[in-house]
Structure formats: C-alpha cells, structure tokens
C-alpha cells in the first residue's frame, strides 16, 4: 500500500473524531511548546548576558587592587609597565571617584573615571560626538571631560553639551565628547559616568593611586598567559600577598555562564520532554481504544487482503500523524508564546532551527514509539475474530 494513501486514510480516520484527536494531541502540543519556550528563553537570556559581558571589551582581565600594608595602590607608571608583557594588547588603568556634576541649575551625582587614551580600545567604547581623551590631554592634565548619555540627558536635556563647561565639585571642565550608549552591565550603569584624563583625575581626586586596571589580551588563547604574567607581577609587587589584588577573567566568566545556562537549558528541556512522554502515553491509550473500536474495520480490511504489515503501517501512521500534527501545532504555539513573552515581559528569546527540528522529530518518534504496541495489536487480530466483533 502506498504512503500517500496511507496518510490520507490516517487523516480521514483522525478527522472523524476531532475533539478526541485534539485532546490526544494536547499532551504533545503542551510538551513541544514548553520545550520551545523554555529553551528559547534560556538561549535568549544567555545571548543577552554574553553580549552584555562582551560589550565591556573582549579578552579582558579586570584587576582590582586592595593593597597590602602601606602600599594600597599602583602608580600610573607602574601600570603602564604591564603593557610590555607578552600577549598584552592594551592596558587601561582607571582612577575613579564620585563627584557632583553641575550645569546651569541642574546637578547630578556621577562616577568619575580618570583614564588615558587606551581605555577606549580596551573597554570597547565609542564616541558618538566630539573626541576621546588623547595622549596630550593626559600629559598636560587638561581639564576636559567626556559624558555618558545619562549624564547628557540629565544635565543638558536636548542641548548640545560639546564645548560647554560643566562644574565638578565646583571646578570647571570642558566637555569634549559624548560616549555611545552602553546600557548597564554587572559593573553598574555605564552611561552614568564622566571620563577625564587620568592625570587630571589624580590631582582632582587628590589621590595618586590606581586601584583598577583593565588588561586586554591579544587573543582568547593568550588570556591565560597574560593572566599568569599579571599575577606574577602583582605577587611580586605586594610581597606574595594574594589578598592584595583580585583578577577577574572575563573569558572564564563567560564560559562559566555558558556552561550554567547550557545545563539549565538541558534541565528545562528535559522536564519539558517528560511532558512529551506523558503525551505519548496519551496517544498510546487512545490508539488502544481506537484499535478496539475499529476491530470490525480491521477484520474487513484483512478479509479483502490487507496483510499484517498493511494494518501495522496504517495504525503507526495514524499515531505518527497525531503526534506530528501535535508537534507542528506545538511549535506554532511555542513561537507565539515566545512572541508574547517578548512583547509583554520584554524577555529576550532565541529560537534556533535545530530546537524546532529536534522537538518535531522527538514528538514524531514519541508518537511512533507509543503507536507500536497498539498497531501491533491491531495487526495481529485474526480476520474471523475481527469480523465477528460487534
């Protein structure tokens, strides 16, 4: 018997009892849509977290200095010596503090970071208008600043802040540029800050110390090499006191996050897959009932020449069609669910083709697997017994 007719007959059989078919499919529909929604949410979240971390700059080590005894910081020149180490693409020391910024009548408390020209590439910052800090600004301790977008919004509204003077703790600084919007990362809001030349900041904040350094490696493979060298340098500097500093390895953090979320996706997907199995048992149950109800039909088919495998295939196709249709509806429901989560809860969802194919294939397999027993039972009926059945 050919396949097209078998599927046509199966559809006919299924459509004969729409309500029952729908209820049977429901388990599969719920299972498949749950798999799709859960996995998409996890993947979407992973993606935005990863993007977020990567927006801080790539192949990054972030060093915090706590100090040991009287030595609580590094000098600017000391940090620059790190740039000569093998595999280091750039070093960006930061001298930071909190200041009150004032323009016209508006004031705002912001984070001030004193940086040099390397900061822009190491931390992956772009300037949306004006210019970044240049070596000369650092050399001559220029009183110039760059503003984050939040600061611009708060102090200037819709005015152009370039070349205007902003008062920081009462002193005037000239705005030379506006940073591109970055959003918040785990380090806090990146748009609520002001950058100025590091030397200017050291004097302005009355502290010569550098407590934070970003070190960028040339490639992901070199991150560990650079880590080792930076650590060696710091151990040497602080007399082997490991508590004097802390180094965050961004690459490592990313892979940890990826691992955690992958496990989470597997776990949630697994739980959803269990509901698919339950759906499969539902199909088996209904198929068993169907076989009993259609005993006479099976007898008639056998009387006119259906072989065991014809009957087997017919019922297998029926359960596969139920689960396959359920799978397709489940995918549609899942995608719609993603859209709703996206629009209403602002969740970032990411659905890959592979998860769609996987869940459809899985539902088909479930349908076939749980269809085997009823189909086999049907195919084994003796024609006489089946014909006598009322």
């Amino acid at each position: 018997m050919n396949f097209k007719i078998a599927i046509k007959l199966a559809l006919k059989g299924i459509m004969g009892n729409k309500m029952r078919t729908f209820l049977t499919m429901l388990g599969i529909i719920i299972g498949v849509s749950a798999v799709i929604i859960l996995v998409s949410v996890v993947q979407g979240t992973t993606e935005s977290v990863t993007e977020n971390i990567e927006s801080m700059g790539t192949n990054l080590l972030s060093v915090m200095i706590r100090g040991r005894g009287a030595e609580t910081y590094l000098t600017y020149d000391a940090t620059l010596s790190l740039a000569d180490k093998y595999g280091v693409a750039g070093v960006a020391p930061v001298a930071s503090g909190n200041v009150t910024a004032k323009f016209d009548t508006k004031t705002m408390d912001v984070t001030l970071e004193g940086v040099d020209e390397n900061y822009q590439t190491v931390r992956n910052y772009t300037v949306q208008s004006g210019r970044f800090i240049m070596p000369l600004d650092v050399e001559y301790r220029q009183k110039v600043i760059l503003l984050g977008t939040e600061v611009v919004k708060e102090l200037f509204g819709s005015q152009n802040p370039i070349d205007k003077n902003v008062q920081l703790n009462g002193l005037n600084f000239k705005v030379i540029g506006i940073l591109e919007e970055k959003g918040s990362t785990m380090g806090g809001n990146n748009d609520e800050k002001i950058l100025m030349p590091i030397t200017t900041a050291q004097r302005f904040l009355k502290s010569a110390g550098i407590r934070q350094i970003y070190v960028q490696a040339e490639s992901p493979e070199l991150v560990n090499t650079v880590y080792a060298q930076v650590e060696k340098y710091l151990l040497n500097k602080f007399k082997n006191d490991e508590d004097a500093y802390r180094i965050f390895n961004q690459t490592e953090m990313l892979s940890t996050i990826n691992e955690v979320t992958r496990n989470m996706a597997l776990m949630l997907g697994g739980i959803a897959a269990i509901s698919l199995l339950v759906g499969g048992i539902g199909i088996m149950n209904i198929m068993l009932i169907t076989v009993t109800e259609r005993t006479r039909e099976i007898g008639i088919r056998k009387a006119i020449g259906a072989r065991r495998r014809d009957i087997l295939i017919q019922f297998l196709i029926e359960s596969a069609v139920i689960s396959g249709l359920g799978g397709i509806i489940g995918i549609i429901v899942g995608l719609a669910g993603n859209k709703v989560l996206n629009l209403l809860a602002g969740m970032n969802t990411k659905t890959t083709i592979s998860i769609i194919i996987l869940s459809l294939a899985f539902s088909l397999v479930v349908g076939m697997f749980f269809g085997i027993y009823p189909a086999n039972k049907a195919s084994k009926l003796k024609p006489v017994d089946a014909l006598r059945y009322e």
Partner: protein, 220 residues
C-alpha cells in the same frame, strides 16, 4: 477449483470445546454455482470462513486451485483472499467512513495497483452493478440493496475466480434480494465460481447444486 477433505473445526471457548465442523469433504469445480443451506448454528459460516481462507481448519486438507493451503501463513492467506476470492457478507461490511468508490478501491490498493488502473477498474465494476452515479456517496447515504451492490463491486474489483456470499440477501427486501441474485447468476454465467450460503430454499434455488449442512456435517 477447490477441494476439502475431512475438515474439522474446533472452537475453544474457555473450558468447553465446541466442534463446529465434524469432518466435511467437498469438491467444487470451476464455474459451478453452489448453494449451502442449513439451519442456524449448523456451521455454515464456519465452513465458509475456512473456504474463504479467513480461518484455518483444526484438521483436514484444503486444496485451492490444486494447492494445499491449510498451513499457509497469515500473509499468504491474505494474498489468496486479495487475488482469488471476492466476499459478500450479510451485513455488507463496507467501511462507513469511505465512499463507494473508496470502498471498492480498497482491495486494489492492498494489491499495489497504480492509481490510474485502479480508477478505471473501480468505475468499471461500479457500472457493472449499476451504481456509477453513487461513487461519491457514503454507505450511510444508500439503501441496503445499494450497499450490497457496492459490496459486490468490491468483491469483483480484483477480478477473482471465486465469489463467496454468506447470506447476501439476508438483510434485504425481496426486490433488492432478487437484484443481487440476478447479479450473482450473471457473474456465474461469465465463468466465475459462486458459493452461496443461505437459509432460504428459494434463494438456494438459483444454484445448480445444493449442499445441506446439519450439525457440522454435510447431509446429502
């Protein structure tokens, strides 16, 4: 055409064994029209099921066109039923969800015939039983006589040499019954072997030869 020798059939219903056929022998030649009569419960349907390869005898031999089939596998028997035998039942036994065309088409599908040939053949047999206009109606939309004619068309579709009819007129009014008998006679004239089971002596009268069964035995 077919020959059975000393066939018995025992039904096991729980603890009780019931012998429905107690050693039956019969030979039917090609082209014969044979009626089998007997009271209810005498074993007519049991006999017909064995002749129709729907069931296997408990003991005895069965030669179909000269070949011993009593120990054929189920799928081999299905092949014989599909190609060699056309069944007509008292309850019509049409599939209610399929229309007349699809019902008649079914044995040809199991035979593996291609779409074009199938369509031609189905329309041809539907015309033969006078139901060309009813091809797309479901059994529930037809009268008993029409349904039985669809069943006859289905039996004929595969062009089998043997037609087995188990009380084909049992559920029909006398007019439809006569029509069905006329078709059977016509088929016999065209060279088909017909085995007709009935209660009704009048119906049996259409046959050339009448065999009577009582209590699982052929009595004359």
């Amino acid at each position: 055409m077919l020959e059975i020798k000393n066939v018995t059939k025992v039904y096991n219903t729980g603890a009780i064994q019931f012998q429905a056929l107690k050693g039956v022998s019969l030979k039917v030649e090609k082209g014969e029209f044979v009626a089998i009569i007997g009271p209810s419960g005498s074993g007519k349907s049991t006999f017909m099921n064995i002749l129709g390869c729907l069931d296997v005898p408990t003991a005895g031999e069965y030669y179909f066109e000269g070949i011993e089939v009593s120990n054929y596998t189920e799928d081999q028997l299905a092949g014989i039923r599909n190609k060699k035998i056309g069944f007509i039942f008292q309850q019509f036994n049409l599939l209610p969800k399929l229309n007349a065309f699809e019902n008649v088409e079914l044995p040809l599908i199991y035979r593996g015939m291609n779409v074009k040939e199938r369509k031609e053949r189905v329309l041809q047999v539907l015309e033969q039983v006078g139901l060309s206009d009813w091809a797309h109606h479901k059994p529930s939309e037809m009268s008993g006589g029409q349904q039985q004619r669809v069943a006859i068309a289905r039996a004929l579709a595969g062009d089998p040499p043997l037609i087995l009819a188990d009380e084909p007129t049992g559920n029909l009014d006398s007019k439809s019954g006569t029509e069905v008998l006329e078709i059977l006679k016509e088929l016999n004239k065209n060279g088909r072997t017909i085995l007709l089971i009935t209660h009704d002596m009048k119906v049996a009268g259409s046959a050339q030869r009448i065999i009577s069964i009582q209590d699982g035995l052929i009595v004359e």
